[in-house]
């Protein structure tokens, strides 16, 4: 009953100055629209840039590092257990480069509930033979299907069909940079020299572009089996086991766990690519700061209109107080005016913000770095909309707070006597 009364007084005051009220609401609408569009765009951009790395990088990479043994024989001797031992010029042993017992590790990982998928890999150094010139290169032997499923390999193959890599024996997908240097196209045969000096002929079934030129100039992909053949190793030889997790945040912890459990080296994505997280964080921060600044400006607009309204409606406020409305009733009237401007403007802003981000999402955006992206990236996230409406309500509440307090303190005697 009382709320309804206060609401009806607020509405009538609003309608009495509907033009100015509308302008104030448009201020809120504009800032919320920009806030939503900005956050959606930045969010999309962040996802895109993170995707460049995150989608292609295993959450945990298990590999074998060539390094000197940490524990030297003298450390194991009981005679010198109490001593500090100096051993100079320690060199690594001549060890195999593959992950030991890889088949058992993969089997165990596949049963782990935290693991989304496992993709084995063989990385080997080669020379691409172009006439009399040898180009340095790297061939990644991959499990084609797992790689496509977990690391969206197929998105980056811009010519040919990625699955031919599996179906055609002795085939290769060349990096775009390599292919340009060698002047080859899909269907051509190229020759490479393995690190052990063996010459191999491979058929080009595709060309890939990762967006990172340094990678495209050097890297190529072949099937696991082909890579193992080039190296002259058995088909249990794996240099990397790539693990994708269901929850990326578990990666650092699980990398440590694998390291201890399997006696291998393991690195998590956060450690390997910490700069990307920093970039995303800064971009998000900037968009929030800009959005909030816009809202505060809109808040001043509301503050102004309410102040004006109070000067104009001084008589009405005085008579309301004289006939028994208390200061807090008057306060509530003006707070609800402010909040309704904020809510109305805010909800319109959400709708326009959605529209604007949808329009931005239609603008063509072609970049050689990202073959799969055709338009500007937009992230549609309910969270942004929630934050926006909460911010707009809070800002307008504070914008209304001081004028409302002023109105509640108006002394009816002063106003009525003044006439």
């Amino acid at each position: 009953m009382k709320l309804k009364l206060i609401a009806s007084i607020s509405v009538s005051l609003l309608m009495a100055r509907w033009r100015q009220t509308l302008v104030a609401a448009i201020g809120v609408t504009f800032s919320i629209t920009m806030f939503i569009a900005l956050l959606s765009f930045m969010g999309g951009l962040n996802k895109l840039l993170d995707g460049l790395v995150v989608n292609r990088t295993p959450h945990v990479r298990i590999y074998k590092e060539v390094k000197p043994t940490l524990v030297q024989p003298i450390d194991k001797s009981a005679n010198f257990a109490e001593s500090y031992n100096f051993v100079h010029s320690v060199k690594p042993k001549n060890e195999r480069l593959d992950v030991l017992n890889s088949a058992a590790i993969i089997r165990a990982l596949k049963q782990d509930k935290r693991v989304m998928g496992v993709a084995p890999k063989v990385i080997t150094q080669v020379y691409y033979n172009v006439g009399s010139v040898d180009l340095m290169g790297v061939i990644n032997g991959i499990d084609v299907e797992a790689e496509a499923k977990l690391f969206t390999f197929s998105d980056y193959v811009i010519a040919g069909n990625y699955i031919d890599l599996k179906n055609t024996p002795n085939s290769i997908v060349l990096g775009k940079g390599v292919a340009e240097k060698m002047l080859v196209q899909v269907g051509d045969i190229i020759q490479i020299t393995s690190s052990k000096g063996q010459m191999v002929k491979l058929k080009v079934v595709g060309i890939f572009q990762s967006g990172l030129q340094e990678i495209d100039k050097v890297n190529s992909y072949s099937s696991l089996h082909t890579a193992q053949k080039i190296m002259g190793e058995s088909n249990s030889f794996l240099t990397d086991i790539q693990v994708k997790l269901n929850d990326i945040n578990l990666a650092p912890e699980m990398a440590k766990e694998f390291q201890a459990l399997y006696g291998v080296d393991a690195i998590d994505i956060q450690t390997a690519n910490s700069q990307f997280e920093t970039g995303s964080f800064i971009r998000t921060l900037i968009s929030y700061v800009v959005g909030i600044t816009l809202l505060i400006v809109a808040g001043f607009g509301i503050y102004n209109i309410l102040n004006m309204m109070i000067y104009e409606k001084m008589d009405s406020i005085a008579i309301l107080k004289a006939t028994g409305f208390s200061g807090s009733d008057v306060n509530r009237v003006f707070i609800s005016i402010a909040l309704s401007i904020g809510l109305f403007g805010g909800i319109l802003g959400l709708i326009f913000g959605f529209g604007l981000s949808a329009i931005i999402g239609q603008i063509p955006f072609n970049t050689s770095a990202l073959p799969t992206v055709k338009t500007y990236p937009i992230e549609y996230n309910l969270y942004f909309y929630l934050v926006a409406i909460v911010f707009s309500t809070v800002t307008t509440y504070f914008a209304g707070y001081l004028p409302a307090r002023k109105a509640s303190k108006i002394d009816p005697v002063v106003i009525i006597r003044g006439k």
Partner: protein, 229 residues
């Protein structure tokens, strides 16, 4: 004694700006139920100031004010608002109607604020009051479509809506022509006689004052005469 609805005892009031001046000096009097009292005096004698103190709107005074035997001092702002809402009806020199609302809504506002009755009941009461004042046909008009006399009658209806203990008027006929002034006086007269409504009206109109039941004359912040007419 039970019939005393308003009692003032030794009320003093000072204005401090720019110099301290005493505007009310030891004012004591009481109003009985059903009395039609006028307060009169020259401009600046403090009669309006007294009215605002009696109405509880001005709380900066010395002395005792009792409404319905309840001491008004020490009551919070919200409690005083409640007293004004329930016990006191106001009619000012200027009508002070809210232009955003139509006539009946203006009359209903204090009733809705009181919240004792449902909206339908308040609307019914408001229509009754408008009928008493002979302006029920204007109920759905906006205040700025009415004449000055009609506006003042709407303001009286608004003062009546919560069936207050006392109606206070601050120069209610000050802005009206002779004909309308008489009309308003007749309304007050009828309220006092037919409905036993107590009224306390501040006016400088001697003719108006002389027709009321009792006249209090003030000069320089003091009561110099208090007589039944």
């Amino acid at each position: 004694m039970d019939n005393i609805i308003l009692e003032a005892k030794g009320i003093n009031k000072y204005f401090h700006d720019p110099n301290t001046i005493q505007v009310l000096n030891n004012i004591s009097f009481s109003v009985q139920k059903g009395e039609f009292v006028s307060v009169t005096g020259k401009s600046g004698c403090g009669k309006s100031t007294l009215l605002y103190i009696l109405s509880t709107m001005d709380t900066d005074y010395e002395g005792e004010l009792k409404i319905h035997n309840l001491l008004m001092r020490d009551k919070s702002e919200a409690e005083l608002a409640r007293v004004r809402n329930e016990e006191i009806g106001f009619v000012f020199q200027f009508h002070y109607l809210l232009n955003e609302f139509n006539v009946i809504k203006n009359v209903m506002l204090p009733g809705l604020k009181l919240g004792k009755y449902t909206e339908q009941e308040v609307e019914h009461n408001a229509l009754e009051k408008l009928k008493i004042l002979g302006i029920e046909s204007e109920a759905l008009k906006l205040p700025n479509q009415l004449s000055g006399g009609q506006k003042q009658r709407v303001a009286i209806a608004r003062a009546l809506i919560n069936n207050p203990l006392l109606i206070m008027g601050d120069e209610p006929t000050g802005n009206l022509d002779k004909k309308n002034s008489e009309l308003v006086f007749d309304i007050f007269q009828e309220l006092a006689e037919s409905y036993q409504q107590s009224l306390l009206i501040v006016t400088h109109d001697q003719e108006f004052a002389s027709k009321t039941q009792r006249t209090i004359v003030m000069e320089d912040g003091k009561i110099i005469a208090d007589s039944k007419n």
